[in-house]
Subunit: 265 residues, 2 copies
C-alpha cells in the first residue's frame, strides 16, 4: 500500500520551464515550444541538450514510479516546472496558457474562456494531429508504415476527402462566430494558445498532404483559417523562432510525407 | 468581420447542469454522467428528454455559429451551464471536477493536482476509449464496421496484445506511485473524476473485449486497477445509479461487442 501522498509544496516557480521531448522531430513537443516562444518565456529543451534523449527515456521507463506528488508520465511531451512534472500536450498547454497570457486565467472576468481555449485545442489535436498520425499508422503504432501501407492509403483517402474538410470547416465556423471577436483569432479577439496549435497543425498538414491543403486553400471557403495561419507566422517572436535553428524540420514524426498518400479525391 | 465578443457575464450559475448527448448509448456522455451522479449534482440530460436528440442535432448543425461568448461545439457531449456551452469530454470534466469536489480547485494547497487529474483523464480516454473505438473503425468513422472488418481484426489483435496491457500497466504503475496516496484511487488518496473515467473505460472494455480483460485480471499483475474498478462500483451514489434506468446499456457506441474481435493472442 503506498504511503500517503506528501503534501505538495507551493514552492516558488520562478524557475525556467523544462521541456522533455524526443530530439530530432518537432512532434507534439512543438505545440509547447510555440507557446513558450510566443511568450518569450525562459525554457530549456531536451531537444537541444547533449544526450537529452536519456532524460526522455528515464521519464518513460516502465520502472519510473514518479515522485512524492507526481505520478510517472506515460509519454512526452513532459513539462517540468518547480516540483511539478506533467505530461499530455493539451494539459501542458492548459498549465502554461494562463501563466503566459495565452489564455484567460482564474479570477479574470472571462475566466470561463479557458474552457473554450481548451476545447478548441483538444479538437484541433484530435482531428488535425492524431488523425493525420493514424493515416500512416492506422493498424498499429508498433508496426512500421511499410507493414500497413494499404490501410494507410485507404485511411488517407478518407481523411483528405472527409475528415480534413470537416475539421477545417469547423474552425472556419468558429472564426465566424461572434465569440471569436475581432481580428484573425479563434477566441475573444486575442491570440491564445489554441491559435498556435491550429497553426502548427496546418503547418504539419501542408507538409504531409500538400495537395489536399492547397485544394482547400484555393477553394476560398476557408479564408479565416488560412488568414490565421499567416497571422501566427508573422508574429515577431514566432517569425524569429521559425527562422532559428531551434525550429526542427518535419520528418518521421506525427506528420510525414509519403508521396503515395498525398492524394486528392 | 465578426463584431467584438460580447463581454461574458459572470452570471449566477446556481442552475442545474444540462448534458446534451445522443440518446440510446452511454458513449462519451457517460463520463460526464458518472461525475454528476457521484456528486449528487442536479442535472438534466437529453438522453431522458422527449425528442432530446433534436437538441443534439441543433447544436452540431453546420449552420450553428454559437452565441456571443461561446463558439459552436463540434460534437457531443456538450455541457450547458448558465451562459456557458462547452464540449470535449475531458474539458467538461475539467470544468465540473473542482465544482463537484472531484478534483483540486484553484486556491487549494494542492491546486496543481488538477493537472495530474487532467493528464490521467486524457491518457485513459486516449488509450482506453479512443483506441478501442478505432478497433472497430480503423479506416473511417464514416464507413460501417462491415466495410472495414479485416482491418478491424488486425487492429484489435494489436490492441489487446500490445496497447491494452501498456495502458493498464501504466495505470497500475500510477496506482503504485507515492503520488496516488492511500486507498484505491489514482491521485492524492481521494476519489477524483480520473477514477470515474478509468472505471467507465474498464467497464466498456469488459463489454468489448471480455476475453482480453479477463486474461489481464487473472494474471494478478494489475490488482490496483481492478480494485479501483470495484471500489468505484461500490460508491453508494454510483451503485444506485448503475442499478437505475438512467444507466444505458452498451450497444453500438464507442464500445461494441463483435465476437470475431474478442481475441486473445
Amino acid at each position: 500500500m503506498p504511503t500517503p501522498a506528501a503534501k505538495r509544496q507551493r514552492s516558488s516557480k520562478d524557475v525556467p520551464y523544462h521541456l522533455v521531448y524526443w530530439p530530432g522531430i518537432p512532434g507534439r513537443g512543438e505545440h509547447v515550444r510555440l507557446a513558450l516562444e510566443e511568450a518569450g518565456a525562459s525554457y530549456t529543451d531536451t531537444a537541444h541538450i547533449k544526450d537529452g534523449i536519456n532524460e526522455v527515456l528515464e521519464q518513460i521507463d516502465a520502472k519510473n514510479t514518479g515522485d512524492d506528488t507526481c505520478p510517472p508520465p506515460l509519454a512526452p511531451p513532459i513539462l517540468k516546472h518547480g516540483d511539478l512534472t506533467i505530461n499530455q500536450t493539451p494539459n501542458i498547454l492548459l498549465y502554461l496558457g494562463p501563466k503566459l497570457s495565452l489564455a484567460p486565467k482564474p479570477g479574470d472576468d472571462d475566466e470561463d474562456g479557458l474552457y473554450i481555449v481548451n476545447e478548441l485545442t483538444l479538437t484541433a489535436l484530435d482531428g488535425l494531429s492524431n488523425e493525420p498520425h493514424d493515416c500512416h499508422h492506422p493498424i498499429a503504432t508498433g508496426l512500421y508504415y511499410e507493414d500497413q501501407k494499404e490501410e494507410s492509403l485507404r485511411k488517407s483517402k478518407d481523411y483528405v476527402s472527409n475528415r480534413l474538410p470537416k475539421f477545417i470547416g469547423y474552425f472556419e465556423r468558429v472564426l465566424k462566430s461572434k465569440a471569436s471577436g475581432d481580428g484573425p483569432w479563434l477566441y475573444g479577439g486575442k491570440l491564445t494558445y489554441a491559435d498556435l496549435v491550429l497553426f502548427q497543425c496546418l503547418d504539419g498538414l501542408k507538409f504531409m498532404f500538400p495537395k489536399a491543403v492547397k485544394k482547400l486553400a484555393d477553394s476560398g471557403d476557408y479564408k479565416g483559417v488560412f488568414t490565421l495561419y499567416e497571422a501566427v507566422k508573422e508574429r515577431p517572436s514566432i517569425k524569429e523562432y521559425l527562422a532559428s535553428d531551434r525550429r526542427q524540420k518535419f520528418s518521421q514524426g506525427i506528420y510525414r510525407y509519403y508521396e503515395e498518400l498525398d492524394v486528392i479525391e
